[in-house]
Amino acid sequence: MSGEASIGQVHPAWPARLHVVTGKGGTGKTTVAAALALALASGGRRTLLAEVEGRQGLAQLFEVPPLPYAERPIAAAAGGGEVRALAVDAEEALLEYLDLFYRLGAAGRALRKLGAIDFATTIAPGLRDVLLTGKVKESTTRTVDRRRAYHAVVLDAPPTGRIGRFLNVTAETARLAKMGPIKTQSEGVAALLRSPMTAVHVVTLLEEMPVQETVDAIGELTALGIPVGRVIVNGARPPLLAGAKPTRAELRRGLAAAGLPSDQATVATLQAEAKEYLTRRALEESLRAELTELGRPVVELPLLPGGVDRAGLATLAETLLTA
């Protein structure tokens, strides 16, 4: 690893160390988190890409077998960097944690067979969140030979509807656990999440509901004192017909010049499609303005016509770095 890219430095455009990626369901959280992990690993760095919802979204995206509860290389980044992936599992995290303190051994395995751990984390969802975020904190702050193990950690986080509760771990555990190591642990996590080491990025599409949820989530996170990073507009399309509403005469001449049929039906249909497109775009413009008003830096990622493959991810990663 070269001196310049040595672990311990932070990318100037993305200064946080822990990047939490949220957004409305289906807006592209997993895709964007992966692209960001690749971007931050470029040039010989090492990043960790973590998921916490037990959905194996990363394995699907990178087309590899389901990820274990272990940090494994999943992709090489441009310029010799490495992305490792981890599927954080609350049960495993609890066992790991208990082992650290109490050496449970075989009893721990028996408990798992019984479903006791699943039970404990189900009845107290706040407990599960502390375990998940606790593991993320551990990997973010871990050092090897007095250097950080990871240059940055990117978390493919729960959606906007649950993000406040998920990250507000102290309040959630305080309701249930009034003392003990879990409480101490949650306080450590809360401190990290409220420090400049953390940035929560919100992914959205230029559609009403995702934008509304973005606005709500940023309000909620701000109120909780959790630092908001960027707003990431995903699936953006290049603007066409800048302001101009095509007339029928214009279309007829154009079609004729291109050697295409220019009958009335064709012209009328093209015009109707253009009109609908412009309606849609006007709406997108007003949503874009609404996002800008939030006062957070906005990054736009293009809609990939061929879907998200490795080349597409590389394109998105590059856009994130240059944006």
């Binding site: 969802p125 291109a258 049929p261």
Partner: protein, 376 residues
């Protein structure tokens, strides 16, 4: 779809599908149509509707009671009520119904109850079922249209209530209630022994208060287990009855279509009647003869000529629309090929979101026409 809405034998329509595909919109549009076109006294139970849609339906508060919707044309003799599910309040009501007031107060004050009634995964589905059961029991409406909670998987709606009641009378809770009870040398005692370790550990890690609260919660709920389960089962039976029609909503995208296929398969297994598939937010072109490749080539040619820029862009718009339509049709075929007997109706993507009564009428009309109604 009109046939279902008009059929007096159909008393419940359930709209299901993966997250964000248009369940709430479809439920509201179907209910409005049933009231206006088919003269049915209709109630729609919505869950987390988008804010502006809620406003148009007159749902300004989350108060768990059906309210009449304004601006509904009542000439056919029908009317429309709408309500928004209040999960916590529904849970509270269930508790109140099954236990005496003093006990109920105890339960409400327990931090586990508070956590569970607002966050337990599955609570929303269970409470939606519960509310549906209540509405049906009141028998005040000809037709109840139910929206389902936003979840990753449409199956959650069917599975969550069973999961919740299994959980509530499960063996973990019993063990937790009496960790020290069992003795003997069976496998069970081994399990119990390690459970003792577990509860001691939990006690150390979480503090003793937590276990006390948890046991208190479990003991308080103990008396209601039977009631919970029975009600969930009752509602499940209603869903299997011929008076219920399931409408499956999907967007023409791979995840949503896969989800829809799972769900349709599951309904078949459960002998629950699937009335049809709504393919929502589809894109189509009325100019299929001009394919994307030709339009793009023509646009490039015009671009090079330096003239006709607007026409070139219009051709690009058409090309993008055509490509999307082709992609969507290919994806949708995965469902229609697997379930050729399920009637399918496509609803076009409107240029803007649907949040007023007129918008719902447009969707309602599209839902009930064979073929495609025009967008906008």
């Amino acid at each position: 779809m009109d046939r279902i809405l008009a059929d007096p034998g159909v008393r419940i329509v359930v709209c299901c599908g993966a997250g964000g595909v248009g369940k709430t919109t479809t439920a509201a549009a179907l209910a409005l149509r049933a009231a206006e076109r088919h003269g049915r006294r209709t109630v729609v139970l919505t869950i987390d509707p988008a804010r502006r849609l809620a406003q148009s339906l007159g749902l300004t508060e989350l108060d768990n009671t059906p309210r009449p919707v304004k601006d509904v044309n009542g000439e056919a003799g029908g009317d429309l009520h709408a309500m928004m599910l209040d999960m916590k309040r529904t849970f509270d009501e269930v508790v109140l119904q099954h236990t005496e007031p003093a006990r109920a107060e105890e339960i409400f004050a327990n931090p586990f109850y508070q956590a569970m009634s607002s966050t337990f995964s599955g609570t929303q589905e269970y409470m939606a079922m519960e509310k549906l059961g209540q509405l049906r029991a009141r028998d005040e409406w000809d037709l109840i249209v139910v929206d389902t909670p936003p979840s990753r998987s449409a199956l959650d709606f069917l599975d969550a209530p069973a999961r919740l009641s299994r959980f509530l009378d499960g063996r973990m809770l019993r063990l937790l209630l009496a960790p020290a009870r069992a003795g003997g040398r069976s496998m069970f005692s081994l399990v119990t022994a390690s459970f003792g370790v577990f509860s001691r550990t939990v006690q150390k890690v979480l503090g003793a208060q937590l276990l006390t609260d948890l046991s208190g919660f479990v003991a308080a709920l103990d008396s209601m287990f039977g009631g919970f389960r029975e009600r969930a089962e009752q509602t499940y039976r209603i869903l299997q009855a011929p008076e219920t029609a399931f409408v499956l909503v999907a967007a023409p995208e791979p995840d949503a279509i896969r989800e829809a296929a799972y769900f349709a398969g599951r309904l078949r297994e459960e002998r629950m009647p699937l009335a049809g598939l709504v393919l929502n937010r589809v894109h189509r072109t009325d100019l299929p003869g001009l394919d994307a490749e030709r339009s793009l080539a023509a646009a490039a040619q015009l671009e090079r000529s330096g003239e006709h820029r607007t026409a070139a862009d219009a051709l690009r718009v058409h090309a993008a629309l055509t490509q999307q339509a082709v992609r969507e049709e290919r994806v949708s075929a995965r469902f229609t090929d697997a379930f050729p007997a399920v009637p399918t109706v496509a609803v076009r993507a409107q240029p803007a979101d649907v949040h007023d009564i007129d918008g719902l009428r447009t969707i309602g009309a599209a839902l009930t026409t064979a073929g495609l109604a025009p967008a906008g």
